[in-house]
Every structure is written in structure tokens, then in C-alpha cells.
Symmetry: C2
Subunit: 337 residues, 2 copies
DNA sequence: TTGAAAGCGCTAACAC
DNA sequence: GTGTTAGCGCTTTCAA
């Protein structure tokens, strides 16, 4: 068995309380601290964090609950959260829910049992609606998606604006029949759809938005079918990286290319969006910043639980690339003006 | 404060021991179990896992230590590890080391303090060499990279074979001046380099392998320079996804394309490798299987610590795509035979 | 500044 | 089957 605090105390000839203080930040004479550290090192002492947590009643642990860590958006966020957490001396428990409300409930329950200090959560729309964040023993910071306003801290993109920017850009490039693909499990999908509709309406146009399961496979299927329809749109936007990938694959399978046959744009500046063809126009999200900010908000709330509920809304950045170059019919002398 | 086991006991009119047994898998009469469950539900009781761990002396926790979760290889592995862990009722603590031996040491120390059941670890070459896995209070399973044979369980790719396959493929396609990019911090880089050299030597050829920092940026810089040299290779292989990405970017920046100016191939079947141009030829690693297998090995060792040390070597799969189509000089009637 | 002692919430040994 | 009790390893009063 490994050395306990008692063993260190015995070896250093002091009480366990002194050891605890010396290894922590208690008031101990320099000489004793030295002796204790020496003894601890000698014995290879490692404090037992379970015991420390039980006694001290704080776990220095945060839960991070996302749909799938393999989504590059969440990958980046999680890296930021972990960097910030470890810097603050906290651990992170990562949970993948696969957009499944049952799993979400299960992990929230687990977080209670872990007595986590707080949770950073990207909930499905259903759970966000139902969730009473103050029903838990810990604060919750929502990321990417949010529930009813003012219920919990949140870090989100300005989704309506970003979607509108994308639409405005396509309109400026001469596209008029714009279709949209939106995830059907998150508030983000709805908000981006709202921005999409609003921007088109502002120009007296209507677009066709389709809500689908947030997977590349679903998008590929839907877009493949869409492309075969009579009234094919001349531009398509996809409300996240997975949907954009599916859309791109559908185009490739159909032997079509952007922007020649169809303009394509979307959300999330994933590696491949800059590599394929002349690049895909996307809204870049400040992914690392989202994670870091979420952790900062959590820490400041732990520091002062009386803080009022805050929403941090971050702006996306439009990266214009080749996939949305001007519509053929708008290209100067060779086409209609 | 939340309800404790004592409160549940009082509410159900039984002893705390009975509550513990009823909620766990102890022998309790059906009637009492019912009453206890009812009371626990009523009170919203959540067992305190810190207390349970301290008392029971097992934490049901595994550590996963990788260089960077943003590397898609580790992303996929981590998802597999977590799936398997949560299924087995265990939690995962994720640690990013950035290939930094100091961070590796720090996290290993943290794992000791957490009294984890075991660790799944992808160490730098330096740490792998130094590491004495039995110096810790928990078993270690190495993934992707391994240390001295027989020291710890490991799940690795057959790196030499995979690199050789890549070389053989390029040779068969008519390429003769093959360069290689290898990471300089991992055993994986060395092994792939060895396979590369061996395969070339078997054909009486010599390649030029360069060892560099395992980042896309380093690869881009090195390849940009390499392409400007007098003796430009006619094919390049990159020993992981990051290096392959950097190499591709260097080509694009130089206005070159594969396979026209230079064949390009590498490791890791990342999303973008299938999308760019006519696709990049890669060795696909069974990423999810690697993670799942590592977790299985860990669980079986926890079950029976007497098991002898095992290495599981998995085969990669060569995915031939457009970036390595036949060398111009080997293309039938139009070129040299 | 240091030590003695209580106790965090739970499980497991033992007794009935 | 059920209850009583000790104690996991630590931090934190409280007293000296």
C-alpha cells in the first residue's frame, strides 16, 4: 500500500495536521515545511484525492457534456475547457450524449453523484427546454446551444446574424434560390434557420429550409434527393460542419461541383473546408474562445454565486472562398446583369 | 445540503447498511428494497462517489493520456475508450500532454493521486524509454506507441508493415525517388521510418527520411523548402495525419498537385484525405478498435493482474486513391516503360 | 505555529 | 436478512 499522510507525519516527526498544512498552504514554519516535504518525497507520498474531496467538500471537478467529441467543434471546445480547467487546478469529466436525452439525463445524474463544481453543457433542444438548472447542486454553463433566456449562463454564437451574413453574401453573389440544411435537435439549428428566413424575407425572397438529423449521412441522403428534384436550388447552406460534409459528398457523388453547378456554404471552419476545390465559404466560429469563455464564466460563478445570469454572444467570421464565387448569370458581360 | 444515506435510512425506517445494500447489490428482502428505493427517490438521494471511492478503495476511473485530443486519431480513440469505459461503469479522465514530457510526468502523478484503476497512455519516445510501468499503483496500456517490449500492455499498428506497404505501392506505381516525413517525438515515427527504409532497401533503393516536429506547420515549412531543392523527390509519404496535412498545404502553396507533380501518401484516413482532389492514398488505422481494445485489455488486466504482458498489433489498411496514380514515366505508350 | 480529535459519507465486517 | 460499528485518508476546528 502507498504511503498515507500518517506515515509522512511519523517520518517527519510531526502531526498529520502539520503535514496537511505544510503540503497545502497553511501556516507552517519554514523548517517544518522543509522536513515534511523531504519526508513526503522520500516516501513517494501521493495525497488521496477521494479523501480530500470527501473531507473538504469541494471536488475541483467540472463536467463537460457534449453530443460527440468527434465533432471538431466540440473537440476544440473540449481542448480549451481542459486547458483552462487544469490551469485552475480542476479536472474535467467528459461525456458524450449522441444527442440522446436519456444519456443527457444519465450524465447529469452522474455529475450530481460526482458532486462536480459545475457543468458545461451543450444540450439537445428537448433537454434545454425541460432543464431547470437551479435544480442541481452546481451551476451550469450552456455552450453552443441555450435554453430559455436567463435560466443559465451561456456562451453562444450570434446564430441569426451569422446565418443572415451567409445569406446576404450569397444574394450579393447573385444567387436567388437558396436552400438550407438545419439540425433538428438543437436550438442552434432553429436559430440559424430563423436568420436564414429573415435575411431572405428582407429581400422579398423565400428560401427552403429543411430540418434533418445532425449527421453527415442524413445530409448526404437528403441533398442527393434534393439535387434530383425539379426545382434544384442554385445555392445551399448547411448549418454545421457535419451537414456541410454530407452536402459536399452528395455533390461529389452527383458529379456536381461548387460553385459551377451550385454554390455551397456553411458553418464551421474545419480543416477540409479550406482544402477542397477552391475552398468552401464558411462562418468560422471562435471555437477555442468558446470553450475558454465557458470555463471562465463557470469559475467566476463559483467564485461569486450571486452573479446575475449572463449570456456571452460571440460573433462568427465569414470566410469567403471559392465555393460561392459569383453566380454565372451575374458575371458581367457574359451573363445577365 | 443534499440527502445522505442516513436520511434515506431514517425515511425508510431501516439502517444505513440496509440502504447501502438495497441500492447496491446486497442481499435485501424485496419489500425493504422497495421501501428504500422509494425513500431514495423521494429525497432525491445521490450517493457521494468520493465517499464511496474512499471507503471501497476502488475508483472506477481510468486515465487517458494523449498528446492532443484535437488530433483526429486521438479523438476517435478517446471516443472508443469512453464508450467502453462508461459501459463498464467507469469514468475517464482525459489529459493532453502536447508531447511534453513534463506534462506527461505531471499527469501520471495526478493519476496516482486520483488512485485510478488504470491508465491508457500514448507516451513520447523519451517517456516511453524511461517509464517503469510497474512503478505505479495501476496498470498502463500503451496505445499507438510502445516502450521497451514486454514492459506494458500495448495496442499498436504494425507500423513497419504499413510504411512498407505504402512504399511498395509507390514503387509499383513507378515512383523511385521517395521522400518520407516522420515525427521525431514518438516511437511510431521511428518504426514507420524503419519500414520505409527496409522496403526501399529490399529494392536496392534508398529514400530520404526526415524527422521533424509532429505538427502540420513544421511539415509545411520543411516540405516547402524540400520542393525548392534541386533533387526534388517524385513521391512523398507522411507518417501521420498532421504531417500529411502540412505536406499537402506546401504543395498547394507551391502550386503543385498530386500526382501530377509529386505523388503524396500518408497515414490516417482523415475526412479531408478523401475529399481533396482525387483523394489522398493513406493507410487507414482502425482507430475506434484501437481505443476499444485498449480498454478491453485494461479491464481484463484489472480482472486478473497475473496475466502476462500482451501486445496487440493491428494491421492498417491501404486505401489507394488518386494521389498515387501511376507515375507519368510508367504510363504505357506515352511514357518510358 | 503546532497538535489532538472530530468527522466528511459511505461500505464492509461482524454480530444477531 | 438486518443492524451496529469501525474506519477509508484526509482537512479542519479547537485548544494549547
Amino acid at each position: 500500500m502507498s504511503a498515507k499522510i500518517k506515515d509522512v507525519a511519523a517520518a517527519a516527526g510531526v502531526s498529520v495536521a502539520t503535514v496537511s498544512r505544510a503540503l497545502g498552504s497553511g501556516p507552517v514554519s519554514a523548517a517544518l515545511r522543509q522536513r515534511v516535504e523531504e519526508a513526503a518525497k522520500q516516501l513517494g507520498y501521493r495525497p488521496n484525492l477521494s479523501a480530500r474531496r470527501l473531507r473538504s467538500q469541494h471536488t475541483q471537478t467540472v463536467g463537460l457534456i457534449v453530443s460527440d467529441i468527434r465533432n471538431p467543434f466540440f473537440t476544440a471546445v473540449s481542448r480549451a475547457v481542459e486547458d483552462a480547467a487544469y490551469q485552475a487546478g480542476m479536472r474535467v469529466i467528459l461525456c458524450n450524449t449522441d444527442e440522446n436525452p436519456d444519456k443527457e439525463a444519465m450524465y447529469l445524474r452522474l455529475m450530481e453523484e460526482e458532486r462536480v463544481s459545475g457543468v458545461i453543457f451543450s444540450p439537445t433542444r428537448d433537454t434545454a427546454r425541460r432543464l431547470r438548472p437551479d435544480a442541481y447542486g452546481f451551476p451550469v454553463v450552456m455552450i453552443d446551444r441555450s435554453g430559455p433566456a436567463g435560466q443559465a449562463d451561456a456562451v453562444v454564437l450570434d446564430n441569426r446574424l451569422a446565418a443572415a451574413q451567409l445569406v446576404e453574401h450569397l444574394l450579393a453573389q447573385g444567387y436567388r434560390h437558396i436552400g438550407g440544411l438545419f439540425g433538428n435537435t438543437s436550438s442552434t439549428g432553429s436559430e440559424r434557420h430563423a436568420g436564414f428566413e429573415a435575411a431572405l424575407a428582407a429581400h422579398g425572397l423565400a428560401g427552403e429550409g429543411r430540418f434533418i438529423a445532425p449527421t453527415a449521412e442524413a445530409a448526404e441522403t437528403v441533398v442527393t434527393q434534393w439535387l434530383a428534384e425539379e426545382q434544384r436550388p442554385d445555392a445551399l447552406i448547411a448549418s454545421n460542419g457535419l451537414l456541410l460534409l454530407g452536402a459536399l459528398r452528395a455533390l461529389q457523388r452527383a458529379g456536381l461541383s461548387s460553385p459551377h453547378d451550385l454554390a455551397l456554404a456553411g458553418f464551421d471552419n474545419e480543416v477540409w473546408t479550406g482544402l477542397v476545390g477552391n475552398g468552401l465559404t464558411v462562418i468560422e466560429q471562435p471555437v477555442y474562445e468558446i470553450g475558454r469563455t465557458a470555463m471562465e464564466m463557470l469559475l467566476s460563478r463559483l467564485d461569486d454565486p450571486g452573479l446575475s445570469i449572463r449570456s456571452v454572444v460571440l460573433a462568427g467570421r465569414l470566410l469567403v472562398r471559392g465555393s460561392t464565387s459569383p453566380h454565372p448569370s451575374a458575371q458581367g458581360v457574359f451573363g445577365q446583369p
